[in-house]
Symmetry: C2
DNA sequence: GGGTGTGAAAGCCTTCACAGCA
DNA sequence: TGCTGTGAAGGCTTTCACACCC
């Protein structure tokens, strides 16, 4: 009987995308704040209180009526849901301006996503060092992934290379990808893809600006 | 009579966010491709054909039944909708790793968003040069905005400074903001805000990865 | 025949409003 | 009394399916 197993309540995508914001809000509360209301959380996350309550209800019922949510407990449940109970090593592929900046950034390691390796196809770039890591050749991608137990691949190559890199990452066993290259990348079912496209963001902004002016 | 003016058909947000992708797909077609079908565009944009047709229908009826869309004409209509008929100068505020990388990136100017100025609050950073631009002090933000006719502000400061920078940008007359700082920034009505949050993207990926493994 | 344009259906997400519990 | 948890309503987005035109 398919679907017969005791089903874990499915969490909507829109909710998943907000959990990290709530978690950050919780972490910003002073250490002696023991409970927080949906309205406080809503203010600090920039959404409305009903949405916070609905979102949190998908994780289970962790609030107390008349009181609010236990900060510590909510943090730990959220960390569990987001998989922050262990590290997720990351490989950055494509060490140009952006890739190098991310390698030097440091903010990833702190948050449980240590940059474990850098890879580039250009022989002139291979061997250079950023943030304490030596850039490896593209040919060693699969080895690097295996060796470091890489869970997430970050693509910062030019657009033309992005699909091939994604295919290689998937082939090597990575099934979470963050794509910064300005092109559409497609992945099979069972692989997660998120994208950050600066040119697209700019164009969306100028669309609305344009609208306002006319 | 509010709403009495001849109303331009409102374009849904979800559609606006896809227009830049379609435009890019159109630009990638070889120069001798005169028409394109919704299905071709859909393949190259990674969406389905009905969605392409609906999206394009908001711009007007630019297709020919049995034939497809005129590539050149569609490009020009799309450029017009996205406000790409003129440049939108950009200021980058916060010249750390990421800000400097964006300043050097160069891909913005090509696409109609020239980086016109760099601003930082740290006296040690002010005066240094990236991509041919000298970093200006935070105190000169309003002057810089006025002088260069800045339309878009990019925030790459630490989280703690982001809201103040946004307020200062808005005060100076900027009403499109792209925020890279890992914090919630709120803006008044009439100002557009887009955000890129790397830590959030990572956490979303690890959520789904986690799901898959359990 | 081929492919657009679009009502209508279906699905997803947000918001409301209030029952229910501490 | 105060605040959570949640059905129900409403709004937005996607997808279907087909009339219509080249």
């Amino acid at each position: 009987m398919s679907d017969g197993e005791k089903e874990v309540k499915r969490i909507p995508d829109a909710t998943v995308a907000r959990l990290p914001i709530y978690l950050r809000s919780l972490l910003e509360l002073s250490a002696d704040t023991l409970t927080v209301s949906s309205e406080q959380l809503a203010d600090s996350a920039g959404v409305n209180a009903a949405k916070v309550r609905k979102d949190l209800s998908y994780l289970g019922s962790y609030g107390t009526r008349g009181v609010g949510y236990d900060v510590e407990y909510l943090q730990s449940q959220m960390r569990r849901a987001l998989g922050l109970t262990h590290d997720w090593p990351v490989v950055i592929v494509g060490i140009g301006n952006l890739g190098a900046a991310l390698a030097n950034y440091g903010g990833f390691g702190d948050r449980g996503y240590p940059v474990a390796a850098l890879v580039d196809a250009d022989p002139d770039v291979v061997g250079t060092e950023y943030g304490g890591l030596v850039v490896q050749p593209a040919s060693s991608l699969a080895d690097v992934v295996r060796e470091h137990g890489i869970g997430i691949g970050v693509i910062t190559t030019p657009a033309a290379a992005a699909q091939d890199v994604a295919d290689a990452l998937i082939e090597a066993g990575v099934n979470s990808i963050l794509n910064f290259a300005p092109t559409v990348v497609t992945v099979p079912d069972g692989v997660s893809l998120r994208k950050v496209d600066l040119a697209v963001e700019m164009q969306i902004l100028s669309f609305y600006q344009q609208r306002r002016e006319s």
